[in-house]
């Protein structure tokens, strides 16, 4: 088992190196010479040379990458060209906001997706199954930013039930924070819940066809016991991997959700950075996103091995 886990970790290392190369390569895609842009209008050759040396742009590209990577490994993601605030500080400020949104979104997605998937599989071919499938397919096809706009219109503008935008920290006012985040979390969780429902249904259906389920039924066990105790527990194993993969979509969905509800999080940070041409921030956010996605998937792989008795004993 330890060998399988070690193997997973080893495979993640070249992936991480390649990701870092790609993110470094992004800045090379920019048209024009960044130093000339920074040097201003007078284009003093001495200033240009100094800037080139400062940003190591006088070195060959591979050497630039090594220097950049060294900084990254030290936790130095550079600084915002607009505010001069270190990118790590900006990310540390915004990440908790997005994490709260992501956790609430995930709780809603699991709360909707898992029970619907189980019920749908247990009632395959019946009205409930069709209804759940229509709901899931609709959830997957609705753009979440549109759902956000419509909910703002109905829930906030018309019914005055929840705030339409903004953010309140849980340390400031816990209930207000939950209330403000409820609608964005639902918008984020809806599409995820839909996907989770489809995966759960599929995993449950393949387990429900196995011999041991037939045996459990033949023994005369109650249908509910068979579905929950025997089938669901085993169907959960592949769902762990799906949840880890959905984590990436959660982060991407947060970008749009934060934009619609004006939440000052990680997603808004990258969008604002894009429009301010603050490339160090864009690179930093993408790097942190990719690394956390790889780490979450690595955890899911290890958890999958630990949960699966056949792999655990190997």
């Amino acid at each position: 088992m330890l060998r399988i886990i070690a193997n997973r970790v080893l495979v993640a290392i070249p992936t991480l190196i390649l990701v870092s190369m790609m993110i470094f390569g992004l800045q090379k895609m920019l048209p024009g010479d960044p130093v000339l842009a920074m040097a201003g209008e007078d284009q003093n050759p001495q200033v240009i040379a100094m800037l080139r040396a400062k940003y190591h742009l006088d070195e060959p590209v591979p050497a630039q990458y090594v220097l950049w990577m060294k900084d990254m490994l030290r936790g130095d993601l550079g600084a915002s060209i607009r505010t001069d605030v270190p990118v790590t500080t900006l990310i540390a400020q915004k990440l908790p906001v997005t994490l709260q949104l992501a956790v609430m979104g995930m709780i809603l997605a699991i709360g909707i997706g898992l029970p619907l998937g189980v019920l749908s599989a247990a009632n395959k071919g019946r009205a409930l199954d069709y209804g759940a499938n229509v709901l899931a397919l609709s959830g997957m096809s609705i753009p979440n930013f549109w759902l956000g706009i419509i909910l703002i219109f109905v829930v906030s503008v018309r019914w005055h039930l929840l705030p339409s935008s903004g953010y309140v920290s849980p340390s400031e006012d816990f209930w207000m924070s939950i209330k403000t985040m409820l609608m964005p979390a639902f918008v984020l969780g809806a599409a995820l819940g839909a996907q989770l429902m489809r995966h759960t249904r599929s995993a449950m259906l393949s387990v429900l066809r196995t011999d041991y389920i037939r045996t459990a039924r033949a023994k005369g066990l109650l249908r509910g016991t068979v579905v929950i105790k025997h089938a669901f527990r085993n169907a959960l194993i592949p769902i762990v991997t799906v949840l880890a993969l959905l984590f990436g979509e959660l982060l991407a969905g947060a970008v749009l959700t934060e934009q619609v509800f004006t939440i000052p999080g990680f997603g808004k940070l990258i969008v604002d950075a894009v429009f301010n041409r603050d490339y160090a921030v864009v690179q930093g956010v993408v790097l942190v996103t990719a690394v956390s996605f790889i780490v979450v998937n690595l955890f899911a792989d290890v958890l999958y091995i630990l949960l699966n008795p056949r792999l655990r004993r190997s």
Binding site: T15, M21, M140, P143, F153, L256, V274, F275, A290
Partner: protein, 290 residues
Amino acid sequence: MATLPVIAAEKLPRRRHRGLAKFMKNRAAVAGALIVALVVLVALFAPWLAPYDPVQASFMTVRKAPDAAHWFGTDELGRDVLSRMIWGARASLLAGVVSVGIAVAIGVPLGLLAGYFGKLVDGVISRLADALLSIPFLILAIALAAFLGPSLTNAMIAIGVSAMPRFVRLTRGQALSVKAEDYVEGARAIGLGDFRIIVRYILPNVLPPIIVQASLTVAMAIIAEASLSFLGLGQLPPAPSWGSMLNTAKDFVDQAPWMSIFPGIAIFLAVLGFNLLGDGLRDALDPREL
């Protein structure tokens, strides 16, 4: 000795026809195909279908609610929402199809090479795909669109590159299983070159799951284009796109909700159509899927 009943070969339905019959029996899949056909027709005949010029501002008709003259109302510059939606279908469909075309054109050959040759080639290509997959689809597309500059073309490139690793993985997996088949071994035994084996024997057999994936990815690409345009990184104003229409509409949701409602329904229907079509194709082409 009992003889086995012999079925005349011509009486056996061909696999393709069986798939088509199964697809036609699936009402959801047919509905999906019809929605997709409708979106394609609207995009193709936009100049004839749109009642007004989609970019012509009219300050006499700013934010007019839906009525007989403007079925879906007008926007903040007095432009007809229905006409902009009809023209916007072009941007969405183009983005969906072109970006998936880019993803297939790069991803499938790379997947075939990785699956067929294995070893180092597979190692390099698979790690590259893993690296791209480790950056969430939309975040990668946003980053690429940011560095390439905002435009519909760059959005399509960004979405295509972001979707590409899915096709690499899928094709690689399929090619790995197909290359172990007897007919590929036979082709190798009679001395056919690698290129001909890949093109004549492996590619046709890996196509069905790629077609299914392509249909589902078009749905994803339409949402991605709308998302990028919504953020201001896709289709630039005044040219219409469903995402950019929602970008401006969100500021007027209180005074002019129709500006938000109709483009959103258009995105929803187009995406639903491709999702239903993809699901139907998968069920028709692969009986193992649930």
